[in-house]
């Protein structure tokens, strides 16, 4: 279960362009880890992009610093794991709401979506870095 079969790391300034680049990194990892069922690939990719978008949209850089997005993607035989870090951010222990908003609201569905797609979600706070650790058990282990 803990044997790492594929891993990719990405770090860049937290800008919207980083989201497209990260998506390309996810596409690359599935080329290597093609044994992962399509549904799991789809669910994991969606949750990672949601979480990284949250960093870009809501992260606030420390004064005079640069906010960076750091992501490590790890494929194990029965688990997919992502560590999504908000680096150089003003510490914010608050969590967004995980409940779905009204139908006509245009935002606020991100965390609900991540929760629906992941098996476990943990948040680590260390100084100016907040890291979301997302894990999904693969439905049909290799």
């Amino acid at each position: 279960m803990t044997e790492v079969l594929a891993q990719r790391a990405y770090q860049a300034p937290a800008s919207p362009e980083a989201i497209d680049e990260l998506h390309t990194e996810l596409d690359r990892i599935w080329e290597v880890a093609s044994f992962v069922p399509e549904l799991d690939q789809m669910a994991f990719t969606t949750a990672v992009i949601e979480s990284a978008s949250n960093v870009v949209q809501h992260g606030v850089a420390v004064p005079g610093g640069e906010l960076r997005l750091g992501v490590t993607l790890t494929v194990m035989s029965s688990v997919l794991q992502a560590r999504i870090s908000e680096i150089g951010a003003v510490p914010s222990p608050e969590m967004p709401s995980a409940s779905l908003p009204d139908d006509d609201e245009e935002s606020g569905r991100g965390l609900a979506l991540i929760e629906a797609l992941m098996t476990t979600i943990t948040v680590e706070l260390r100084g100016e870095t907040k890291t979301w650790v997302l894990s999904r058990e693969i439905e049909t282990p290799a």
Binding site: P16, E17, I19, D20, H23, E38, M42, A43, T45, T46, I49, E50, S53, V56, Q57, L100, D103, D104, E105, E106, S107, G108, R109, G110, A112, L113, A116, L117
Partner: protein
Amino acid sequence: MRFSTEQKDSYTEVSGTGRLNMVAAPKLREVVGEVVSAGNKRIVLNMLATDFIDSSGLGALIGCLKMARQAGGDLRIACVQPQVKMVLELTSMNRVLTPHATAEGAFSND
């Protein structure tokens, strides 16, 4: 993401190719805003080549739907791919934005 617009007999078809994420969401609002401003109220978003959507993209879809309805029209979606279908279902937005099998069929029962 690239968008194209085509005027059909009874509706305007907007097609999006690529990922409907936080980068593309404002572009979709702009494209649909222009279509509505030009007086076209019945819009079908053809999602055949839209292989990904996230909550930002979903927000843009809801914003576009509101724009069309405020103008007295409607926006419907067609040809959704598996990831888009999954996101619509998990957020229950398929109740508001029901996917149609074809762009031609989206307004056919009106």
